[in-house]
């Protein structure tokens, strides 16, 4: 599957997503400037992304823990998610994400 990721300068890159890994891990490994301070424990809100172009609705709903943790994110929008809580799968092939400001 592919992830279409836009960085904070507006540059778009296409990265390969590995099944079962999180989108945060893919963004980080691709060298995008995502802090992901807690390493994927849904404990810091520094892997915050916006899900673009209708992809938000295709994702399973965020857990209570993620909704709570998004309160600690900055510039939250209705399409905000924490990328450490999104697992790569074929259904998400082509998903578009934008790094949120930090």
């Amino acid at each position: 599957m592919k992830i279409i990721a836009k960085d904070r300068e507006g540059k778009t890159v296409e990265i390969e997503g590995r099944d079962g890994w999180t989108i945060m891990e893919m963004l980080r490994d691709a060298g995008l400037p995502i802090t992901a301070e807690c390493g994927g424990a849904c404990a810091c809100a520094t892997c915050h992304v916006y899900i673009e172009d209708g992809w938000y609705e295709k994702l399973s709903a965020p857990s209570d823990g993620e909704v709570d943790m998004l309160d600690m994110a900055l510039a939250v929008q209705p399409n905000s998610r924490l990328s450490c809580q999104l697992t790569c799968s074929e259904e998400l092939d082509g998903i578009k994400v934008t790094l949120a400001p930090e």
Partner: protein
Amino acid sequence: MTQSNEVATPVETDVAIIGAGPAGLFSVFELGLLDLKAHLVDILDRPGGQCTELYPEKPIYDIPALPIVTGQELTERLMEQIKPFSPTFHFNEMATALERLDDGRWKLSTDVGTQIVARVIVIAAGGGSFMPKRPPVPGIEAYEGTSVHYAVRKMETFRGKNILIAGGGDSALDWTLNLAPIAKSLTLVHHRDGFRAAQHSVNQMRELVEQKKINFHVASVKALHGEGGQLSGVTLSGHDKKEWQLEADALLPFFGLTMKLGPIAEFGINLHENLIPVDTTRFESETPGIFAIGDIITYPGKLKLILSGFHEAALMAQAAFHICRPNEKLRFQYTTSSSSLQKKLGVS
């Protein structure tokens, strides 16, 4: 001793450690076995670093011999393990300056004026200092300290002010409740009509809204207006992108903490992409006498794991010994068999 013009009297020790996370704490143990005393400085109010600040309740599965342990438990066990060496902790302090003295020792200063004079500095600062998250509002820096505050030091500062609080956690709710009685007006903004704060605080806040004593808006701060660091108003933006202005002379954003390298970047140590390159036989930076371990360092093959930090602490201690005790011979001993080590640990 080198003369000092400072008012505060420096404390002297063998090793000053910046950061009281797992790597910093275990350093106390490894240094202690070699009879080296340590002082630790940490910006947080308790030991554990990320482990207790970010994920105290989350289980960790990759600590050798501890199949499952939470960040909180790991910290408590480390504290127990280093207890025989009675380290001195300087909590709620940020290491702000490092200076080399004429006699070759280092003087580490903190933001509250503590001065520690030590032969060896160990930087175990992980991702850096935990600092409040700054909302991405253009020009916010200009208002910080005068109108934008990330903590409440003195409530009186806010008496009679038009206060805007942003956030939805316990800090945001607690300060909403505490400042409401003394504010001229108080508005809370949060990106949703739901809170991660304690339920009774949320209930109390909603009561105040009902009684029209405070306002609550589902919105975020879009722009700040004012002059010379003095805030006069803000532009808020709702989810429907509707924007409106609000009178405000104080903004209190509460979005938790994030790690920033902070003053360590000014210590004159060579950095590579905000990490400290070290020699992996000694875990010393490119500045002799300044060691670094844990997540803040880089070397070929580096893994940001707690267990790597422990290994790095052990090797650092051996090298630090030679700097602290240049005329003594270091004898490598095991805690299982050495009666002198067992004596230090208080078990024999």
